[in-house]
């Protein structure tokens, strides 16, 4: 297939920019409707705070709590244990490990641009980032602790108490703890991958193989039917035919509806090359395995998305597609010192 690459990429750019415009408009409307300050929603723009602003202290508190294992019952596991910056805030394990070596039931999701998300947990049943913060604290296989005892602990740390007072004008409460960590997570913005640079006019940011992979992604394989929008997800819920019979009932575990059996959220593909292993259960170790799964059309399942149909790729095409996915890796995001604390 011979296609004029510049003509194609301009069309891709237009599509992506349009998607971004729509998402931004939707976010703005949601904020207007809820009375929420728009600054509480992340976008793909790195926020900056003056050092004495309440926002600064909220993020400062949340960042330190994110890295502090005192949120777990035996003080051995922190949020950062399963969300490591160098792995785009995943942990490299099929399933994460909680306190006392307890195995978590699912693969750790990336926090890349998590402030743009509106559905949380891999099955999308949790609609707010603040509420999401409470989940690992309470889960038996994760922190196995109680929010009230966590609050008692963190209020005893003078710097946390001070930052809470400056950021919220109060001691640390249930809300302060959750909002501060969520505020930090909203700063985790990835927007400087080679793909982003390409979109911004640096056509040399992608090599020829990556450009061909991009054509495959958007034009031939229509991966963007599911992996759409600026973050390569618009949080559709679907089944990708990973199994015929699932050990994990997915969204159904909350809704109890058969139609939600083994339904999971479409994940972002930003930084996907560093977030192996893949799938909700971490059952695939490489991007090549993932692509071959989709080439096969997946297993038969009543809830399988209609987009999941077999296709064929040559070895070269498959490698080009992988190279494009690698172009979504934002090295600045993986190394940004603002996302770390000095221990």
């Amino acid at each position: 297939m011979r296609v004029c690459i510049f003509e194609q990429t301009e069309r891709v750019k237009a599509a992506v920019y349009f998607g971004f415009f729509v998402l931004t408009a939707v976010l703005f409307m949601r904020c207007a409707n809820t009375g929420m300050a728009i600054s509480e929603n992340a976008s793909n723009t790195v926020p900056s705070f003056s050092e004495d602003s309440t926002e600064f202290y909220r993020v400062q508190l949340g960042k330190h709590l994110f890295y502090d294992p005192i949120l777990s019952r035996d003080s051995t596991v922190s949020c950062a244990s399963c969300h490591k910056q160098e792995l785009a805030f995943t942990d490299g394990l099929p399933k994460s490990i909680g306190i006392r070596d307890r195995m978590v039931t699912r693969n750790s999701p990336t926090l890349t641009n998590v402030g743009n998300r509106t559905k949380f947990l891999l099955d999308g049943v949790n609609p707010s980032l603040e509420a999401q913060v409470g989940v690992p604290i309470q889960e038996h296989n994760e922190f196995d602790f109680h929010i009230l005892l966590v609050i008692d602990r963190v209020n005893k740390v003078p710097k946390y108490a001070e930052w809470a007072k400056k950021g919220y004008g109060s001691e640390i409460t249930d809300w302060v703890l959750k909002n501060s960590i969520a505020s930090f997570e909203r700063t985790l913005i990835s927007d400087n991958s080679p793909y982003d640079k390409f979109l911004n006019g640096n056509y040399a940011a992608l090599d020829n193989g990556q450009k061909k992979g991009m054509e495959l992604f958007f034009e031939k394989l229509h991966c963007a039917q599911c992996h759409s929008g600026p973050d390569f997800t618009e949080e559709r819920l679907t089944n990708n035919g990973l199994y015929e019979v699932y050990a994990d009932s997915g969204r159904m575990r909350l809704t109890e509806k058969e139609m939600d059996r083994a339904i999971f959220k479409v994940p972002t593909l930003r930084n996907i090359a560093v977030t192996a292993p893949y799938m909700h259960d971490g059952s695939m170790e490489t991007l090549e395995e993932v692509i071959k799964h989709y080439e096969s059309g997946g297993h038969s399942h009543p809830g399988k998305g209609e987009e999941i149909v077999p296709f064929e790729l040559t070895n070269e095409e498959r490698q080009n597609l992988i190279r494009f996915l690698e172009a979504l890796t934002d090295e600045d995001f993986l190394t940004n010192p603002d996302y770390r604390i000095e221990l």
Binding site: A131, I147, L149, T173
Partner: protein, 324 residues
């Protein structure tokens, strides 16, 4: 000594007023097929020995009927019922004559989606211990019923079961309480709660840990009907009984920070102290209700502790264990 209003109907207290703010109180008299409920007691349920260690549930969506059929909703009133607690405040409403009440078992969908962090400490929807939520919106446990059932036939409950009902679809309307003519500055509504009713026709041996909105919890929801779990005792006309025993029970759901359920035979508030075995006071609080759930909200080392409840009339102690 506190008077328990078992099967007494509706108690009207205070002077009669006309269209004034009335204080509404709710007495939930917990029973197990007619017997006063106590944690740790072995009951017979459909031929099996059963013991319950935790029973808590949410009530929301209160609506009162008054003054010739007018209705007033109470959207901000929530009750977290506990099997060891009888008295609950429903707040204040304006009426002359109260004629009936209805409510829902569970938390209404709007508030069920808000999470615990929006509520002040002490509010029924704030974080509880043991937890009444999964830490997510849509995640309040509408009820927690935990206990043991005898699956060997020797009369000793030995197999654990837990119902934690979760999901908007489990919300159940509870109504049928009508025809009253109650007035006064404080109106107390007495309802009986037959805990056994929730468990009817459920194979407790196969329940295990049902922390979900699945079939077992749907069965609990379906069992919740007027005159099955919640019922108006007025028609039965049985004389009230006086409570002359203290009931204290430790909930070890979080063995590192237990909760002590207590229901004391006193009408006066009590001071509560927790001491280690050397006699050192590790926790202390004054002027607490004579019935309640005391969360040992402190990280304590492993060991045995003593909790004491005292006022001018009683001094009751109870041992419990902390295991990290």
């Amino acid at each position: 000594m506190k008077t328990k209003h078992l099967l007494v109907g509706l108690l009207i207290a205070g002077a009669s007023t006309v269209s004034a703010q009335n204080t509404l109180e709710l007495n939930l008299n917990h029973q197990f097929d007619g017997a006063a409920f106590q944690y740790g007691t072995v009951y017979q349920l459909e031929g099996r020995a059963v013991r319950l260690d935790r029973v808590q549930y949410y009530l929301s969506g209160f609506e009162i009927t008054h003054d010739g059929g007018q209705t007033t909703t109470m959207p901000d009133t929530y009750v977290l019922g506990s099997a060891n607690i009888t008295n609950y405040s429903l707040g204040q409403e304006t009426f002359t004559t109260l004629e009936g009440i209805s409510f829902d078992l569970g938390v209404d969908a709007a508030r069920n989606g808000m999470g615990t962090s929006n509520w002040p400490s002490g509010h029924p929807l704030a974080a509880q211990s043991p937890s009444m939520d999964w830490g997510w919106p849509s995640g309040y446990f509408f009820w927690t019923i935990e206990g043991m059932v005898d699956d060997t036939g020797d009369g000793t409950p030995n197999k654990m079961f837990q119902f934690h009902g979760i999901g908007d679809h489990l919300l159940r309307d509870v109504n049928g309480f009508t025809g009253w003519t109650l007035s006064g500055s404080t109106v107390t509504i007495d309802l009986n709660v037959n805990i056994a009713g929730w468990l009817k026709a459920i194979d407790l041996e196969s329940v295990g840990f049902s922390h979900d909105g699945g079939n077992n919890n749907v069965a609990v929801a379906e069992n919740t009907n007027p005159n099955y779990v919640f019922f108006d005792p007025a028609s039965l006309g049985i004389e009230e009984e006086a409570q002359n025993e203290h009931f204290i029970h430790a909930d070890y759901t979080m063995a590192y920070a237990p909760t002590i359920y207590y229901d004391l035979a006193t009408g006066e508030n009590v001071d509560i102290r927790v001491m280690d075995m050397s006699g050192s006071v590790v926790l202390e609080t004054q002027d607490q209700s004579p019935e309640g759930n005391y969360f040992v909200r402190k990280e304590l080392p492993d060991g045995t502790y003593l909790i004491s409840f005292t006022n001018g009339n009683i001094s009751e102690q109870f041992r419990f264990v902390v295991k990290n």
